[in-house]
């Protein structure tokens, strides 16, 4: 009973005794007491009892939180480092997810397949996905029971000029059969998926429709393609996402239109289309592949049949990452490899951040040892202490995760730009949150395990008595962790340096022509026909153009392969060798500026040059002539033999990947009307001055064609895109890795300096110099970094050597990269540690010694 209530009762009692006498007052008193027995007022006999240990967890988090606030510096390093690591892991995770969910946009994802073909060539099985239109038609007609839909699609995207009224745009799109849009489940905004049934129809993507018609419904409007065909817009579809095979399709047109007039749907000797199939609901890719295996054989000539073409279907989920074949067997694709590599890098960087956490927590364990001792003596069992330290780790991990989500959101636009993707954080995906939760939990577990298990193992008595000393080996695990950290960081940096070295090496490769001041465009409109000479003269008359030429294919493509060539002394084994062919006007060489090793260029002065050929160095080596210009090349086509005089040998022109060997090339003579127009600008005028003049001249001759040109330099540099992307991402990640490692080191160094304050004070009093103290404090860490470097070198060397084997044209791994990285890492370490070391060394010894 509470005191003051008793007081009230007694006072009341006193009044009543005086008024009504003792007996009545007694009874009232008793009644009052009985009436006072209420739940709210009486105190439980045993005090409060909780039914769960919720309060304990609350206290763990509270203490954890207070610890964080108390050591702001450490907390910042801990949370900041962990957040950086998590951001990297998240970004990489998003990238991997994007790669692994390629093509998921299409609804019938699990039933769509593409027809691939194995071919036997020179004893090797080659695999490709390009087939003839006959294959598609055959599958549709003879194997109808296996396929719900079959769509033949032109085997690469096609660039065409679309025009509506005044507007002309060069657009990339696909030519496909009417079933295609339905099969790939396009999301239609206007019109229907069946819009390609008529030959003169076209489906536009939303972005293109906007360009032409703004937000109006364009269905029924007429679009003019290449100034040749009038096509009726029958629908508009939502732009396909970047992680779809048809992501670049800004329009879809009927395949019949593409084939119209020169080919048809039952061709068996021109490999120019893809065939996509959609299986019946109960279809099975393996079984279907078995059925269509030999479907081609009855239709092809003996020569082609000798290569034993074998058809099979690759399911959509395998297209992106798992359609890489070597000698007829599916092997892990380079892209899949890079998905793995990035995944590993992500794990490493996260591990680095976790190591920071472990190191800092255990390093500070001496400070918390007392707390552990007290908790133990009050009655905490070890399990509870483990729980406490885990809950602290989870607290930090959760905070770091929130920061990293923010960071990721901020970085995503830049990251998308570098990775050339369209990724977003799937905020609304429950799976994403589940993943995040698991991820945070795992990180907490990873980061918290060592401290939790280590700190809880202290002996209470020793700790409190003060006899507890960290053993000589107490810092050993910490040292190992730091070494691991720096080994990983240094490896990443060396790897990045080598990637850049390789890119630079390929960039410096002699390319056999001069890119500066060279522009190319793709004359699409029929207006160009027969106007080559006129256009050339007009352009040259501007005074800013040195030379103009046309060629069948662009300078930077390796399209156009033909076999069937003979030469004197040809080896039998080279019978199925094919050459990369280009037909060029006589000015081509002068325009692009190739260099002759032997012989001369085409010339209009010699009419006989029309049956001449220019070969490159690689071809010359295959031919093996002593004097190539005395020889002839024989072309056999349909039993028709033609002789070409070899006019000259040029230095290899890099047409394909600058990292690979140059292909054997042949250049034939052409009078004009080819697919590409090249203009060499005068070096007297800047591009800025020259381009408007060129455009004016151009518009005079071909007013309707858009002047969509590209610089040869840009075209060439585009070939480095993939490698540069790897380089950029790798450099970002490795920079972050070293930053995280240094953060950890910084924390550790400041801790060590703090711990040795007294020692430093005494040393200073005894006369130690600043330099000697600085040396003493830095030495430990420098030794670790040197050790990491020694470990990292052989690992990186063998790994990067393996990576370089992918490239024909590769740099030697120079010791320069290693030495530079080593020195750099050391410098960064010394810098990081020195700050703390010098701070400690400069401190006044009187202050540090006077305390206690």
């Amino acid at each position: 009973m509470l005191n003051h209530i008793e007081g009230d009762l007694l006072e009341d009692y006193g009044v009543r005794v005086a008024k009504n006498g003792k007996w009545k007052a007694d009874i009232r008193f008793m009644l009052d007491v009985l009436l006072l027995l209420r739940r709210e007022i009486i105190r439980p006999i045993e005090g409060n009892k909780n039914l769960n240990t919720y309060g304990m967890y609350k206290s763990y988090f509270k203490i954890g939180w207070r610890n964080l606030l108390r050591n702001k510096g450490y907390s910042l390093i801990n949370i900041g480092g962990l957040a950086l690591g998590m951001t990297v892991a998240l970004l990489i995770g998003l990238w991997m997810w994007d790669e692994l969910t390629f093509n998921r946009y299409h609804q019938n994802y699990d039933r769509i397949g593409q027809v691939y073909r194995h071919n036997l060539r020179q004893g090797q099985i080659q695999t490709g996905n390009i087939v003839t239109t006959g294959v598609g038609t055959l599958l549709r007609e003879e194997y109808a029971s296996h396929f719900e839909k079959v769509a033949i699609v032109r085997g690469r995207n096609e660039e065409h000029v679309l025009g509506f009224g005044e507007n002309q745009f060069t657009q990339v799109g696909y030519f496909m059969q009417p079933d295609g849009p339905e099969m790939f489940s396009l999301h239609m905004i206007h019109g229907t998926r069946g819009g390609l049934a008529d030959m003169s129809s076209i489906l536009l993507s939303q972005s293109v429709a906007r360009k032409f018609f703004n937000t109006e419904n364009p269905v029924g409007q007429i679009i003019r393609m290449d100034n040749k065909w009038d096509l009726k817009v029958t629908g508009v579809y939502e732009d396909l996402p970047k992680n779809s095979v048809f992501y670049d399709a800004t329009y879809l047109a009927p395949l019949d239109l593409y084939l119209n007039g020169w080919s048809h749907l039952n061709v068996w000797d021109n490999y120019n289309v893809y065939v996509y199939v959609q299986l019946k609901t109960n279809g099975d890719f393996k079984r279907t592949s078995g059925v269509i295996k030999d479907a081609m054989l009855p239709h092809i000539d003996a020569n082609s049949a000798a290569s034993k073409p074998e058809l099979f279907v690759v399911p959509m989920e395998d297209w992106h990452l798992k359609s890489y074949f070597e000698n007829g067997v599916q092997v892990r694709s380079p892209l899949m490899n890079s998905v793995w590599y990035y995944g590993i890098i992500g794990c490493f960087v996260l591990a680095l951040a976790c190591i920071n956490f472990m190191n800092l927590t255990t390093a500070r364990s001496e400070k918390r040892a007392k707390e552990v001792g007290i908790r133990k003596s009050i009655g905490s069992v070890r399990g509870q202490l483990v729980g406490q330290f885990y809950s602290e780790a989870f607290l930090v991990a959760t905070l770091a995760f929130i920061v990293s989500l923010l960071l990721t959101q901020i970085c995503l636009p830049f990251y998308n730009q570098i990775a050339d993707k369209d990724m977003t954080l799937p905020w609304r995906e429950p799976l994403f949150w589940l993943g995040c939760f698991a991820f945070t939990f795992l990180t907490g577990l990873l980061a918290g395990s060592y401290p939790a298990l280590y700190l809880s193992s202290f002996n209470a008595v020793q700790v409190l008595k003060g006899t507890f000393k960290m053993g000589r080996f107490a810092s050993l695990p910490r040292k190992i962790l730091v070494t691991v950290q720096f080994t990983v960081s240094i490896s990443l940096i060396i790897g990045t340096a080598i990637v850049y070295q390789q890119i630079q090496f390929a960039k410096n490769r002699p390319i056999g022509y001069s890119r500066e001041g060279l522009i190319s465009l793709h004359p699409r409109s029929p207006e160009f026909i027969g106007k080559y000479e006129v256009l050339r003269n007009e352009l040259k008359a501007t005074g800013v153009v040195d030379e103009v030429a046309e060629s069948n294919y662009s300078i930077v493509s390796t399209l156009g392969w033909n076999g069937g060539f003979d030469w004197r002394g040809k080896d039998e084994s080279l019978n199925d060798l094919t050459f990369n062919i280009n037909a060029v006007t006589p000015e081509y060489g002068k325009t692009i500026g190739w260099e002759f090793l032997e012989g001369r260029d085409f010339s209009r002065a010699f009419p006989a040059d029309a049956s001449g050929v220019i070969i490159n160095e690689t071809t010359a080596k295959i031919f093996g002539f002593e004097n190539a210009t005395d020889e002839v090349l024989i072309r056999n086509r349909n039993d028709h033999r033609e002789e070409f005089k070899i006019l000259g040998v040029i230095r290899d022109v890099v047409k394909g990947s600058p990292f690979q060997k140059t292909d054997p090339c042949l250049y034939f003579f052409s009078g004009g009307d080819q697919g590409w127009l090249h203009i060499r600008m005068n070096d007297k005028a800047t591009a800025h001055e020259a381009l408007p003049k060129i455009e004016t001249a151009f518009k005079k001759i071909v007013p309707s064609a858009p002047f969509d040109f590209t610089f040869a330099d840009d075209d060439y540099m585009a070939k480095f895109k993939a490698e540069e992307r790897i380089g950029k991402l790798a450099s970002i990640f490795s920079t972050l890795a070293i930053v995280i490692s240094c953060l950890g080191l910084f924390g550790l160094a400041s801790f060590v300096a703090e711990q040795r304050t007294k020692e430093i004070g005494i040393r200073k009093v005894m006369g130690a110099s600043l330099a000697s103290i600085w040396k003493m404090l830095s030495k430990d860490f420098v030794v670790l970094v040197i050790l990491s470097f020694v470990l990292a070198v052989p690992m990186t060397y063998s790994f990067m050597n393996g990576w370089l084997q992918h490239y024909d044209y590769r740099t030697d791994i120079s010791w320069f990269a290693f030495v530079l990285t080593g020195v750099g890492a050391l410098a960064v370490t010394i810098l990081t540690v020195s700050y703390q070391a010098i701070k400690a060394a400069l401190a006044n010894p009187v202050k540090s010694l006077r305390s206690e």
């Binding site: 003051h4 007081g7 009230d8 009341d12 006072l36 027995l37 209420r38 007022i41």
Partner: protein
């Protein structure tokens, strides 16, 4: 949701505390209610109400000097908090508003 939770008896207790001002301790409150409202108040009911009001934050208490007639037990004085004041005003306003909303004819009971 109800803004301020205040029962009828609780309201009476609070009003009494306000009346007694500095002299509001357990027994005084009880006696005041009994004398003004002519009704019996049990010690238990009143202390329950006081505990509840204190939990709600409407009143606060401080211990006074122990006196002889209480055999050395201290008095516990109660005082109304700002929140308590608001609760009382709210209660009054709602009642006034309800009174005001009654049409004249409603309470003008006539038997015809």
């Amino acid at each position: 949701m109800k803004k301020y939770q205040l029962g009828e008896f609780e309201e009476i207790v609070m009003l009494t505390i306000a009346i007694l001002y500095k002299e509001a301790y357990g027994l005084a409150i009880k006696n005041e209610i009994e004398s003004r409202l002519k009704r019996n108040v049990s010690m238990g009911a009143m202390h329950t109400a006081l505990v509840r009001l204190e939990d709600k934050g409407y009143i606060r208490s401080h211990d006074g000097e122990p006196t002889e007639e209480r055999m050395g037990r201290p008095k516990k004085y109660f005082q109304i908090t700002a929140l308590g004041k608001k609760a009382m005003e709210y209660s009054r306003e709602t009642r006034n508003a309800l009174w005001g909303a009654i049409p004249d004819v409603s309470l003008n009971v006539k038997f015809s």
